[in-house]
Amino acid sequence: MKRKSIYFFVLIFWLLAVCTVLSENIERLMTARVVVYEGAHQSMVGQGDAELTLEALTRDASGNHLYEIVKGSGWESGNRVEETDSHFYTVEKECVLITSGMGGKYILYASKEITPGDLVQKVTPYKGKNEKYLVIAPVGTETVTMDWEDTELLEQKGNILLISQTGKLPYMEGMMRDTINLTKESKIYCLGEVKEFFENMPLLSVIWVLLMFSVVLWGYSYKLMSNPPENRVLLAGNLGIGLLLFWGFTNVTQRVSLPSSLLPKENILDLTYYKNVFIEIWKALEGMSSTAAVELKEVFFKSIGFAGGVIGFGIVCGVFILLWEHRFAKKLSQKNKAATFSFLC
């Protein structure tokens, strides 16, 4: 009973340690970067009302939402998103007019979808390098006017465009839409970020392999605990391997950098969201022959292959280590038996 309880709780506390490392990194990845407009406090209402871009508004079934940043407290400390009272602004044809005169930090653009209570990081965009963007305009849009001199159209397939532009970093879909004058209904994906996401897949598979192997090692150690004095060396070895795996897991997890624009709103493990996003990108890229599209497809297949290879290699390594340990245990037991026999003789 004691042995079972210690082994069960070792697994529980190991899982808690894993969750701690993961949560720290998930928080880092899921924190949305936002560009804000800082309104000054006005002495008279109506005096110099601020105009915000329509991109600052989030529309859903319940209507329009304008968000601002507030300082949170307690468990919700840090810069948090809060919805602005609808009495404090009016939605015009081409802008949002702030009428409160109370000042505030209104969120103009965000690197990912945000909801009230989310932790955000305020950033100032800067000019990045030339990047390729996949634009999916609403169905029925025949021509998209691009009155921006840096923009170059690489390929067009109906309402889908592949463009090249020196956009601002960090990438924010809303900011890009404003730059190339597109409506909120259109979707824009930065191919550089999609590529970065694919390139992280081998790292994610390493994390998966390390975690799975740790669990298998735990199971094997549980089996070894049926005879602790005889398997003392192996148990110590397994502990060492377990610690090494955890160290590796911590290091690899810190290296993962998934682009914020491709992450879900709430849960990073929301696989349905990823499925929908990548199916949309894949369908849009289908039939496109420009270098950027072909390159992205190649990176995808390479990353998938590499990730599969990592998993395969991990399984082979795991099986090899366990088999080697098993053989070592057998040899050790034979040696002990021989020593006991010679002692008795």
């Binding site: 004691k2 309880s5 210690i6 069960f8 709780f9 529980i12 506390f13 808690l16 969750c19 701690t20 993961l22 949560s23 720290e24 998930i26 928080e27 899921m30 407290s73 307690g74 468990w75 919700e76 400390s77 932790l119 709430e266 849960n267 990073i268 493990l269």
Partner: protein, 259 residues
């Protein structure tokens, strides 16, 4: 026939009382999976265990504080308990009497003097402000004194005749036969430290410094499922201690017999 009927009634009453005891734990385990707007969901557990590192960092920090307290309290209790149980010195009985009085004093009574002492020591607002006063809680000393009193003097004399020194007797004879009392003191001090609420509020600066026992109350009251998920996290260390040391805990509490 009458006896059988009485037995049935007792069983039913005990059954319902048992259910009453189990219901809160059942609610903690299942409540985290039910969200008012989505039904069955892992979101609350995701929020607590993966969504942010705040909960788990605070959990490990609280665990660290508790381990310091347990180690310190067991050390102090063992040494002072052995002194009270096995040595004669002037004023021993009066000191033990004062120790017992201190033990029965409510925490709130000693809180202000402790606050003043911690302020003089310049450790207010730090983790040490929680660790330091809890190391000297008199319950541990009382338990260990009672436990060491049951170790027979003849056994110690035999060890002395066999050539054991002070440390030899203490670590080779007294500690092994008092394992139950030691574990009991450790567990009780851990539970006391793990569940402390008043001391952190009085001695620490604010939410950022609070251990998880206090910070739990700050989880938004509208988010029940998250509160349940947090409760599960807080439940784990005591659950482990009980499942691992249950036999020693019972043995430690029943240490009336002479060893």
């Amino acid at each position: 026939m009458k006896r059988k009927k009485k037995h049935w009634i007792t069983s039913i009453v005990v059954f319902f009382l048992g259910i009453l005891c189990v219901v809160p734990y059942f609610l903690v385990l299942t409540g985290g999976f039910y969200q008012q707007d989505r039904g069955f969901s892992f979101q609350a557990y995701y929020d607590v265990f993966l969504g942010t590192s705040q909960y788990l960092f605070r959990f490990w920090r609280s665990l660290g504080i508790c381990l310091y307290i347990v180690f310190g309290q067991v050390l102090v209790s063992v040494l002072s308990g052995y002194g009270f149980a096995k040595y004669s010195f002037p004023g021993k009985n009066i000191m033990f009497f004062f120790l017992m009085i201190l033990m029965i004093l409510p925490l709130q009574v000693t809180q202000v003097p402790t606050y003043i002492i911690l302020d003089k020591l310049k450790i207010l607002g730090r983790d040490a402000a929680l660790i330091f006063p809890n190391i000297f809680v008199p319950l541990g000393t009382f338990l260990m004194t009672q436990c060491f009193r049951t170790v027979s003097d003849d056994m110690l004399d035999s060890a002395r005749i066999d050539g054991c020194g002070l440390f030899g007797i203490f670590f080779g004879v007294v500690i092994p036969v008092s394992k139950g009392g030691l574990v009991c003191t450790g567990i009780l001090s851990f539970l006391d430290a793990w569940n402390m609420v008043e001391q952190p509020i009085a001695y620490l600066d604010g939410f950022e410094d609070y251990p998880i026992s206090v910070a739990l109350a700050y989880v938004s009251s509208g988010n029940w499922e998250k509160q349940f998920a947090c409760c599960l996290l807080v439940l784990l260390p005591p659950l482990f201690l009980f499942s691992y040391f249950n036999r020693e805990l019972v043995e430690g509490i029943v240490f009336g017999e002479e060893k």
